[in-house]
């Protein structure tokens, strides 16, 4: 994303609010969108654009769970393992997914940098568990086979 693109997109967001700071979550989302994490430069850019102290922006990044401060996989796979999902086998599903990707049971990032796998709290899809979001897209009523097919497709997509 060029500096000009980002400023243009931010200008559109700012139109919604009487105060600039209200746009901070969206600004951070825009900076994070393409690479799945926020660098020091991203945080400085947002702080500068919205006339906020860098430390305040940094605090927000720490507070809100969708922001990532470390480089992550191209595809972030987030599996809900909260109680309703766990009652439908989501914990075991998660462990099997990690094992098939060669990751430890708690998750992590594959060595090729393609997939980051992690457990998250409720995604409001309890009736369709196991459920995952991959870069915020919903995948519901998952089985091991369905997940394998999704992963194969994403691998292809990444190569192509």
């Amino acid at each position: 994303m060029t500096a000009q693109d980002w400023r243009q997109e931010l200008q559109e967001v700012l139109k919604k609010y009487p105060v600039k700071q209200s746009a901070v979550l969206e600004a951070l989302h825009i900076r994070q969108r393409d690479k799945n994490y926020l660098s020091d430069a991203d945080i400085r850019a947002v702080a500068e654009a919205l006339e906020m102290p860098v430390t305040e922006v940094e605090a927000l990044v720490g507070f809100y769970s969708l922001f990532r401060r470390q480089p992550s996989g191209k595809y972030v796979i987030q599996v809900c393992t909260d109680l309703p999902c766990a009652l439908r086998g989501a914990e075991a599903f998660y462990r099997r997914l990690c094992a098939r990707l060669g990751l430890p049971p708690e998750g992590g990032t594959t060595p090729d940098g393609l997939f980051t796998v992690e457990q998250v709290v409720c995604l409001a899809a309890c009736d369709r568990a196991p459920v995952a979001q991959i870069n915020l897209q919903y995948y519901e009523n998952l089985t091991d086979e369905a997940m394998d097919a999704i992963i194969a497709r994403l691998r292809e997509q990444a190569q192509g």
């Binding site: 919604k16 609010y17 009487p18 105060v19 600039k20 700071q21 209200s22 746009a23 901070v24 979550l25 969206e26 951070l28 989302h29 919205l50 906020m52 605090a59 927000l60 507070f63 809100y64 769970s65 969708l66 922001f67 909260d82 109680l83 309703p84 766990a86 009652l87 439908r88 709290v121 409720c122 995604l123 409001a124 899809a125 309890c126 009736d127 369709r128 568990a129 979001q133 915020l136 897209q137 919903y138």
Partner: protein
């Protein structure tokens, strides 16, 4: 199934494609707003909502019309904020309205704005719903084009802009004052109340914060009248409610029912009971924030008062079913871990209390329990009770206390052998 003849809220189940404006209009859409703009004073809309007995569907159950009536009449700037930060484990009803029937939400929001004199409304959606909100934005765009939003709606003096604002992952932002902080670009931590948002809300202006499902009730109430709405439900809990059914249940999902139906209707007729005919051991009736109900009483009536009478609450009506195979200590450890993860850290009792409870649960599950651990859990709960800054901490202790109360033997079975 004992169901309504047709859905009042989940209308997309009866009318496919009602998410598009043409179909919504062809099925009575925006008639309530047109009626209000033509024939009702703003105060009369509030009176109708009051008379309907509609109560907040986000969990607190506060009378909606009363909430609106607290907005000062002479305030030059007011706001409507729609709470679409649906994050309570076991709750997935607002999501279905957002996806399936977005115009009804927009119309309800517009009616609220008309009633309180707001010219701007924000829909605060949880960040995880980003892809779903593309559909809501499409509905908003259509409504603008057809003159149902924007300047001088349908030639009237009433103008309204609705904007979507997405959060970024924080359960606490479902608490209305934390939500307002977050909307202002700050950490989502609750504010001291009073002042309530109706006096000092978004950007310091009088603000109504209403849940998605609450506002979706408003167009049919205004269109058909409060008496029509009161034909559903009970005297003190009028109307319809979406019940989210999850956990150990054959047919999980959302079920829209009149308030006051017996639990049997939800669990058996809608949900098909626990899988493989297993017995139900306990139910969490309002998601993670539940007083656990032991066993299964098919005749328990599903309304605000009846749930209260058995020491629980209807809350957001998110019924998580636990069958006889479920380990209660494990189940409540999951819920407690959720609250620990989502505690915003503002107040010590919640931040520390949830942390310590999780620590005790970890010991109980790992076979490292200390002899006094069950009492320690209760002691931590006592030390949090009434001392937390907002409801999150207070809710965190409900499932812990009630599960120990009803299933103490399961907890004690995990304590070290007393003979040693």
């Amino acid at each position: 199934m004992v169901a309504l003849k047709e859905h009042v809220l989940l209308r997309h189940r009866d009318v496919p494609d009602i998410r598009s404006l043409d179909v919504y209009l062809a099925h009575g859409g925006y008639q309530a707003l047109a009626k209000a703009l033509r024939t009702l004073q703003p105060g009369q809309v509030t009176e109708m909502v009051k008379a309907s007995g509609l109560r907040g569907r986000g969990g607190a159950g506060f009378p909606t019309g009363v909430k609106w009536s607290y907005i000062p009449k002479d305030a030059p700037t007011t706001y409507v904020v729609v709470n679409a930060d649906e994050s309570e484990p076991g709750t997935f009803k607002d999501r279905e309205i957002i996806e399936g029937n977005p115009h009804q939400l927009l119309e309800g929001t517009a009616l609220c704005a008309y009633a309180i004199g707001a010219r701007v409304a924000y829909i605060y959606g949880r960040g995880e719903f980003r892809t779903l909100f593309a559909g809501v934005q499409q509905a908003i765009d259509e409504a603008y084009q057809a003159g149902w939003l924007g300047k001088n709606i349908q030639g009237s003096d009433f103008s309204l802009d609705i904007y979507i604002h997405l959060g970024a992952g924080a359960y606490i932002c479902g608490e209305e004052t934390a939500l307002l902080e977050s909307l202002e670009g700050k950490l989502g931590m609750p504010r001291a109340r009073p002042p309530y948002p109706a006096q000092v809300g978004l950007y310091g202006k009088p603000t109504v914060v209403n849940n998605v499902e609450t506002l979706a009730n408003v167009p049919p109430i205004v269109r058909n009248g409060p008496e029509w709405y009161r034909q559903f439900g009970t005297e003190r809990s009028p109307g319809v409610k979406i019940f989210c059914l999850s956990g150990c249940i054959t047919r999980p999902g959302n079920y829209e029912l009149p308030l006051g139906v017996p639990l049997r209707v939800l669990i058996e007729e809608c949900g098909g009971g626990a899988p493989e005919g297993r017995a139900i051991k306990a139910i969490l009736p309002s998601g993670a924030s539940s007083h656990l109900l032991p066993g299964y009483d098919p005749e328990l009536h599903l309304d605000y008062e009846s749930l209260q009478a058995v020491g629980a609450g209807l809350g957001s009506a998110s019924f998580i079913v636990l069958d006889e195979t479920v380990d209660i200590v494990w189940a409540i450890s999951k819920v407690t871990r959720f609250f620990e993860h989502e505690s915003c850290g503002k107040c010590t009792p919640c931040r520390e209390g949830t942390y310590w409870m999780v620590d005790v649960y970890r010991r109980l599950l790992d076979g490292r329990a200390w002899p006094g651990d069950v009492d320690l859990l209760l002691s931590i709960a006592d030390q949090m009770d009434g001392k937390c800054f907002c409801a999150l901490g207070e809710f965190a202790i409900c499932p812990v206390r009630t599960s120990v109360k009803h299933f103490r033997a399961e907890y004690e079975a995990r304590l070290p052998d007393r003979g040693m």
